[in-house]
Symmetry: C2
Subunit: 497 residues, 2 copies
């Protein structure tokens, strides 16, 4: 292997006056971000190695490694195996990508892959980020979590031979049972809960257990690409079923579907809620055809009014529903714990499949999370966050009503951390996205989530991260940039939301 | 769903005089363990629910849940979905298992499953545990780990939007590079390291990336069942290749093998080391046929003399080797972090496959582990543990020599946490196992790891957990039970080991 490529000439002025380590990371990160956004570091350009950069700037290799990490996570730079680290294509001013080698004949195929946040637009370093799926993690009580983690670790150290069962620690399974019973009116028993290292693992093990090559999996379109990738990798044929303001169009389901993937609380990405009538129809479909319903409730904890519908898992009577939940939104994403609730006929097979790749979800986090839930911190935190998100959501609703009059129409929604809107009046997704980019705002384009292009002529806005005034200002600026004839203040109406 | 089965009548006297919570767990655990071992709680018997047991004993549900957890992890009880918790079949006095329902027609197939510690024998509550794979985790510096975890969490809390790349945090990848370069003379760069949630994930994603249905995967026989299960689940035909005192019999490899799985430092489970000649032959085989070698180095850090062989990953020149490592043995199993080192042509495909089921390995543990390694704690701990294990190993070697004369022959080994021995003089595995069980010692029977029964006529002994005198005494008692004519003290010889 060995690095035979010489260090690149790197002449970007980086200025780090405050050399305390916490400042250093932030500053170096900011300056590299800016350099990429402004094209001074252009796409495809090779960065110095961590060691080289560290020596040049007289900082530690850790500092450089951390900053490179952050830039990789943001998609601004990418590591290319054996060749070094490069400014990512698509970041800043585009340059032709470095040549791709022919695939090695030993590799039978590349799995279909997906990008997290596929529909996010604009420079990742933009000032305002209205991407989907971003919770305000800064409001999480990390001090409580740290205390509980330390306590769990102390207890564990007293009997470190404790083995973690593949379905999860009993205490946590019991706590999850109590949580979903309370928060989502789901009837379950401890034995039906399987603790996972994130919701993605649920889609993967469901796919590997139930899909045989050629099985039809019906998915909402637009829909959630990471789940789609898991089903496709298991050999499924994906049937793209349209959604409307009442969620999945159940009467468009292909009768041969073996699995139906659905996000009933808050359709991803349109935000629509599955109506009571459609819920019944979907369960009837499953009863008639023997299909299994995968109910992904990725941000159902955050509910803002509207009639409360029972979960499909609650309504289903014949063990046709697998409910999937996550702690990424209501805790923080790095905790890497999700769960599923499976009917008795399916749970043992899912556990066996899970064991093929994973003996247990991270053990100490399971213990800390169990304590966090048992002591009421989760319920308290969700309640608090709902109070934090409600005015952000209301501000977005009103701003879309006010500044969006004439060119968009908000899709009705009751739950979650984002809203979407269909475009009208001849305004295209491209125009809206261009205007947002010019205003320094990252929004979502729904066509990137759709297999059938016509299903995705809409845009979306996450409200998890920013204060109400920032959200209002962003929508106003997008509208202004779109058309010099943005509505005047007297044209404002207040949404009824 | 709902529990319709009434609570069982449960008349076991449980006596809990000391009601401090730490004592309670230990006492309840011990008393239930004993009741199962002695058959007072017989196999197949239903236990009260957590709630019912808690009410009866006037303890918290958490206490009961923790104890049930421990018993489940030990294989003494098992949760049956929707039906309750039962004393496991095979624990204590056997009773017929509860009737198994016919599989649901919605389930296309059950994945081939595996038991962790498949070859361990005897009652799990036995006094001495010489099972494979048990490190002395009580000696781990949990205080240091707790401090580093807290610090990582504090740093993370300052920028909680930090996203963890799917291949792992750069800092940790760099630290792993440094570690394997130092400890195993492996040449790698940061980009070739992929951080995983355990070594099992390596086998799973390698299988899913490289195996097409019907691909031949050559595995050592006896071999490591969890890896075998991962390859089989991906559709591989497993070719069982025999091993001898020099490890895998490379000349017996089927030429059509696409993957060769091998444990060269310390063959699992025989303990043999792959000779230098065989290493070269294996690499030649891969070069000739295009096969990929999976080098599982599960306990290679613990080396006790002998000539040092380069890792296959170091010797290989054409990107034919994937090296797999774990922190389960040198840290503690619950940390759930492993890694692989992949050649450039394969790494991107492995990362894409990993993302299908897992966005990233547990984030905060990655940060803590990076600090642990950067600050030299890992190297220090491994050095210390080597000092702790060496006399245990020496005691086992000498005891096998002394008390095993005439009926077993230790398989030469230089590395790891266990030794195995072939039987001779007409002594059968069943006889040795029966004698061990009578002596209250859990040992390993290698036939449980073999696809071809003749490959597994041996037994094995882990020396990670117990003090030298306990180990010597155990082997002595097994030998005594085996035959009243155990060698007299003057027959002792000292092993040259």
């Amino acid at each position: 292997m060995g690095r035979i490529i010489p260090e690149p000439v790197f002449e970007l002025p980086i200025d780090l006056p405050d050399r305390t380590s916490r400042r250093l990371v932030r500053e170096l990160h900011r300056q590299l971000q800016n350099a990429i956004a402004e094209g001074r570091l252009h796409a495809g350009m090779r960065l110095p190695s961590r060691r080289g950069m560290a020596a040049r700037l007289r900082v530690s290799r850790n500092t450089v490694a951390t900053v490179y990490d952050m830039l990789i996570a943001e998609g601004l730079i990418e590591a290319q195996h054996g060749a070094g680290t490069f400014v990512a294509c698509g970041a800043g001013t585009a340059r032709p990508p470095s040549p791709v080698e022919a695939p090695d004949p030993r590799l039978p195929r590349l799995p279909e892959t997906y990008a997290i946040g596929a529909g996010a637009t604009g420079a990742p370093g933009a000032a305002v980020n209205l991407q989907f799926g971003l919770a305000d993690q800064a409001a999480f009580p990390f001090d409580v979590w740290r205390r509980l983690s330390s306590r769990s670790l102390r207890e564990f150290a007293r009997r470190p031979s404790f083995a973690f069962p593949p379905a999860g620690v009993e205490r946590l399974r019991a706590a999850i049972c109590g949580h979903v019973a309370f928060a989502r009116a789901i009837a379950c028993d401890t034995e039906s809960v399987i603790v996972l290292s994130g919701a993605q693992q649920a889609f993967d093990i469901i796919a590997r257990t139930l899909v045989t090559p050629g099985s039809v999996v019906a998915m909402e379109d637009p829909g959630y690409p990471p789940a789609r990738a898991a089903f496709a990798a298991a050999g499924a044929r994906i049937a793209a079923v349209p959604v409307d303001d009442h969620g999945l169009q159940v009467d468009a389901l292909p009768p041969e579907a073996r699995i139906v993937y659905v996000t009933p609380s808050h359709q991803f990405p349109t935000g629509a809620e599955l109506s009571a009538e459609r819920r019944r129809a979907l369960l009837d479909f499953a009863a008639d055809t023997g299909a299994v319903i995968v109910e992904d409730d990725y941000d159902g904890e955050f509910r803002f009014g509207g009639e409360i519908h029972d979960a499909l898992q609650t309504l289903g009577r014949d063990g046709s529903v697998v409910y999937v939940g996550t702690f990424s939104k209501c805790l923080f994403a790095a905790v890497r714990i999700g769960f599923l609730i499976a009917p008795p006929w399916l749970a043992p097979a899912l556990i066996a499949t899970k064991k093929l790749g994973d003996w247990s979800a991270p053990g100490l986090s399971q213990l800390a999370l169990a304590s966090f839930m048992e002591e009421g911190h989760l319920a308290r935190h969700v309640r608090r966050m709902r109070g934090l998100y409600a005015p952000r959501r209301q501000a977005l609703l009103e701003a879309l009503e006010t500044f969006g009059a004439g060119w968009l129409e908000t899709i009705p929604s009751t739950t979650g951390l984002h809203l979407s809107a269909r475009l009208k009046g001849g305004v295209t997704v491209d125009r809206v996205v261009a205007s947002a980019a010019a205003a320094g705002v990252v929004i979502e384009r729904l066509d990137r989530y759709a297999l059938v292009p016509a299903h995705g002529e809409a845009v979306g806005f996450g409200y998890g991260l920013h204060e109400p005034e920032v959200i209002v200002d962003s929508i106003r600026r997008i509208a202004c940039g779109l058309d010099a004839t943005a509505p005047t203040p007297q044209g404002r109406r207040v949404a009824e939301g």
